[in-house]
Point group: C2
Chain length 142, copies 2
């Protein structure tokens, strides 16, 4: 009888521990997807579309972006790449062919990391595009 009580207690403890962990896990996931970007600095490198402009997405994704990301070290939280599909307003031309975005913790650290590598980054442009990009520095507020 004594052992039965011990076994029941152990089972109950294990169940409660498992439930607690599941709750914790769900909470972490929610936080991650909802506010992971908030407060970060976003450097968006946007390539405007125009007649005669070209963009090699495969080179950009496999060579250029990883090279720049490598310069940024632990200041880089993540980077994303998107391919322009259409203008959201019907019958208007595509605004951008592609956008590369670096999410960093510190703008000063980003600038310090890019400065000594600016020539290498610019020299690589010709390998994938003939577009001069627009670069926006912004802060994620939500």
């Amino acid at each position: 009888m004594k052992y039965r009580i011990i076994i029941s207690f152990l089972l109950l403890t294990a169940s409660l521990a498992a439930i607690g962990q599941e709750k914790q896990s769900r909470k972490s996931k929610k936080t991650n997807s909802a506010v992971a970007e908030k407060g970060l600095i976003k450097v968006s490198v946007m390539y405007p579309f125009a007649e005669g402009k070209t963009f090699n997405m495969e080179y950009y994704e496999t060579k250029h972006m990883p090279m720049v990301a490598g310069f940024l070290g632990s200041n880089l939280v993540k980077y994303t790449i998107e391919k322009g599909l259409a203008n959201g307003i019907p019958n208007q031309p595509l605004p951008y062919m592609a956008i590369g975005i670096f999410y960093v913790k510190s703008l000063a650290d980003y600038q310090a990391a890019i400065a000594p590598n600016r020539d290498a980054i610019r020299a690589d442009f010709a390998n994938y595009t003939n577009i001069v990009p627009v670069i926006l520095v912004s802060e994620v507020v939500r």
Copy 2:
């Protein structure tokens, strides 16, 4: 002795279950932060900066964006808001004052949800800005 073996077995099972759950949880978190956006459609509503243009970020964040998000239902994975800080190229004007981004699973569903609410959305513009936005539809490839 028999009970001791049972207790040991139960403790072992509980430990293994806890370890398994922890591993699963870490895996999910990693997936969330690293590739959560990949494959999604991004609708970026970008407000260009120019002299005399105004933008009320507080209204945009607390009223306009939640209203539009409400129209999108379960097709909406998340939305973000960013505040333009500077041009990434020194001595160039700020490209955009603000950007609101909807991450959706289906572009067709997005369009179907927005169409019947277009007038309400446009009528709300005057409450926070005098800027005509640029809207880019893109696909997150990385």
